[in-house]
């Protein structure tokens, strides 16, 4: 199982990251997956209270967040028997429209790929120590106390 987990303090382009991931797999001689599932999450331009959002601030627990992301990804990938996993997550200040999370799973069949991708995304939303703070266009801010509905 090939696993790669990254935290980014600056913007990343999901499609570029996916192309690199594909190249790395080919260079290391890992065969192509018959099925790949990809999820990209981006920052909304609207805050929870409906006002205009200027930015999202993402705090994490250095050391634990990386360990926990890797642990969650390994558990999930082994449970679904998939071949490869790429998970990228932003930290710091993220602007509306920028990618906040990328999860990509490669497997032999679409079922495990899609199920693993969804399960890992939900796991990292609820069990990886990240905290979001909304900065509104009027200068006010608020820490979020949970996730948006599925």
């Amino acid at each position: 199982m090939q696993l790669r987990v990254d935290l980014h303090s600056t913007n990343f382009e999901p499609l570029v990251a996916l192309a690199r991931w594909q190249e790395e797999r080919q260079q290391s001689g890992i065969s192509n997956n018959a099925a790949e599932a990809v999820f990209v999450g981006r920052v909304r331009g609207v805050a929870a209270d409906g006002s205009e959002l200027e930015a999202l601030e993402l705090e994490h627990y250095p050391g634990m967040t990386e360990q926990q992301l890797e642990r969650l990804a390994l558990d999930c990938c082994h449970r679904h028997g998939v071949n490869s996993c790429l998970a990228k997550h932003r930290i710091g200040r993220v602007l509306p429209g920028e990618a906040i999370v990328l999860v990509a799973i490669g497997a032999d069949r679409r079922g495990p790929a899609q199920r693993c991708c969804q399960e890992l995304l939900e796991a990292l939303k609820h069990d990886a120590p990240f905290w979001k703070r909304e900065w509104r266009a009027n200068g006010s801010s608020e820490w979020l106390s949970g996730n948006t509905p599925l």
Binding site: K125, A128, W131, K132, W143, S145
Partner: protein, 76 residues
Amino acid sequence: MLFAGLREQVGWAEQQWPADPNCTSEITPRQLWLNLKLPGDLGPQVRVAINRQFADADTPLKPGDELAFLPPISGG
């Protein structure tokens, strides 16, 4: 260690808590929450991590442990 909204509510991010060699009973995160005068009771909305792993709030702490109280998580 405290994070995010909890850190800002309380006004500090990190403290050292000296181990008491004369204390016969081991201290737990739940007891430490009270000793540090953190707000209210340690409810289910705040999770505990010991040495960067989720843990039960009643786990006895050992000298050198890194304890963190984690407010509601919102990743992804």
